[in-house]
């Protein structure tokens, strides 16, 4: 529902967040964080552990509120955006309900938020086809492999047609081969539905492969130090890994990451 002329799907300005508890020193998780994501743009966040990536994602989802700064998702603050079902998430732990079948899991956001309509049924069929799980709608999550479970989680995140999708290391727990396959599939699915994506990852290669933009973060305080534009043509295939442009981008990103992190 892009009613506004605003081309930005996600806008974050001067965001500060400090973890404070009485018996520990204050930790500046994020300080002066800025990020803009356009409609239909895929942005990856890479950074060392503890740079506040997950904190940032919680702020985007409105699970915690910032000390300072502004977040807008489709022009709305996170809580309102959440009530309007403007965004969705995928976690590293697939966060599927083990007592529900694949189908029941995927319909969960609809069930919690609105009524199940035929358009959702149609979208469900499309999504199942897209992720290649047509035959598994009545299976329980533990009957599926880790990669398949994550595909179910991705389908679930798309069923309410969000304009923004936040992914927190969705493939972090998977082996390299599955990861490569899922990167291809994610690119394909994203290409069809085109939500704006904020993709948190540890893998520079994954970030280079999937993104339009890569934002490199530093630790203490967490902030974005550099943004790389990624202009490879889509759809990208895994052969891109061998191309010299890709390799030099990878090198530059990891250099930036090396500079920004204090070891």
């Amino acid at each position: 529902m892009p009613t506004e002329k605003n081309p930005f799907s996600i806008q974050v300005e001067d965001l500060d967040f400090t973890y404070s508890s009485p018996d520990r020193p204050k930790i500046d998780a994020l300080l002066g964080m800025n990020l803009s994501v356009r409609d239909e743009e895929f942005v990856s966040l890479v950074g060392p552990s503890g740079c506040g990536k997950t904190t940032f994602l919680k702020l985007l989802c409105g699970l915690i509120s910032p000390d300072k700064g502004k977040i807008r998702i489709k022009g709305l603050p996170p809580l309102e955006a959440r009530q309007n079902g403007r965004f969705s998430v995928v976690f590293q732990s697939t966060a599927l309900l083990e007592w529900r079948t694949v189908e029941e899991n995927i319909f969960l956001p609809i069930e919690l938020h609105s009524e199940l309509k035929t358009e959702h049924q149609v979208l469900f069929k499309d999504l199942m086809k897209m992720v290649g799980l047509e035959d598994f709608s009545n299976s329980y999550p533990h009957e599926l492999s880790g990669g398949m479970q994550q595909k179910v989680a991705i389908a679930r995140s798309l069923i309410n047609q969000p304009s923004a999708l936040f992914m927190d290391e969705p493939f972090g727990a998977l082996d390299l081969i599955t990861r490569g396959k899922l990167n291809l599939e994610l690119q394909r699915i994203w290409g069809k539905i085109k939500p704006s994506v904020v993709f948190i990852t540890h893998s520079i290669r994954e970030a280079c492969f999937l993104s339009d933009k890569i934002a490199v973060m530093s630790t203490s305080p967490g902030r974005i130090t550099k943004i790389f534009d990624v202009n490879f043509e889509r759809p990208r295939s895994l052969e891109i890994f061998q191309e010299s442009d890709f390799i030099s981008l990878e090198t530059n990103v990891s250099k930036e990451l090396g500079n920004s992190s204090i070891l």
Binding site: K58, C61, L63, R82, Q83, G85, F87, S88, V89, F91, S93, A95, L97, E98, W99, L108, P109, E111, L112, H113, Y140, H142, E143, N160
Partner: protein
Amino acid sequence: MKRFIQENSYSLLTIIFFVFFLEILVRFGYISAFILPTPSKIFIVWWTEKNLIFKHLFVTSGEAIGGFFLGSITAIIFASVFSRYPVFEKAVLPLAILFQTIPIVVISPILIVSFGNGMSPKIVVSALIAFFPVLVNMTKGLKEVDPTLLDLFTIFNADWVQILFKLRFPSSLPLLFSALRIASANCFIGAIIGEWISADSGIGYWILIKMYQNKIESMYAGVISSSLAAMALFSFVALTEYFLMPWERKIQSKGS
């Protein structure tokens, strides 16, 4: 069902062997027939007195099952309130634990004084026995939900009722059922203790009377009948669990 029989055939064989062994021990005089009648004799007495035994067993089962449901449902309601209003947990749960330390044998006379001689005090004793394990486990189960799932429900804009029924309840089912198993096995104890203190019917009453009358076979028949009834309730709980949690079933069958 086929697997159920297969898995239980070993313990069934053990029982048969044990009964046979006792029969021989008593027949050949290694154990006095005054202390332990032969299993076959017990069975014959049980058969001849079965109508009376069933009448008493029916009373006790009513008390135990009534108490089981009363206690466990109350506990589930309490635990749900705790999960919504943690301050109630702080106010009530320590007292419940304190109350639990009072031996049930001590509480029963008080209940009999307050509720009279009928079935109701025994139901209350059973309910008290069932209440505690269910309350503790269910409180734990409702509280200890995967935080990522809670975040997910919040992000999908779920209200607390949806979180309670669609997330907290289903994820606490395994803990709930392990508590219900304990409660189902124990609530017969509550009913029988109640009957021992004061009753004019029930299998506890029967066992006590037959002991005084020195009718050891009848006493044994009562003991065995009551444990069979308790086992039936236990099996009912296990079966409910089996049908209510199809996903668990598949996890188990994958494991074996």
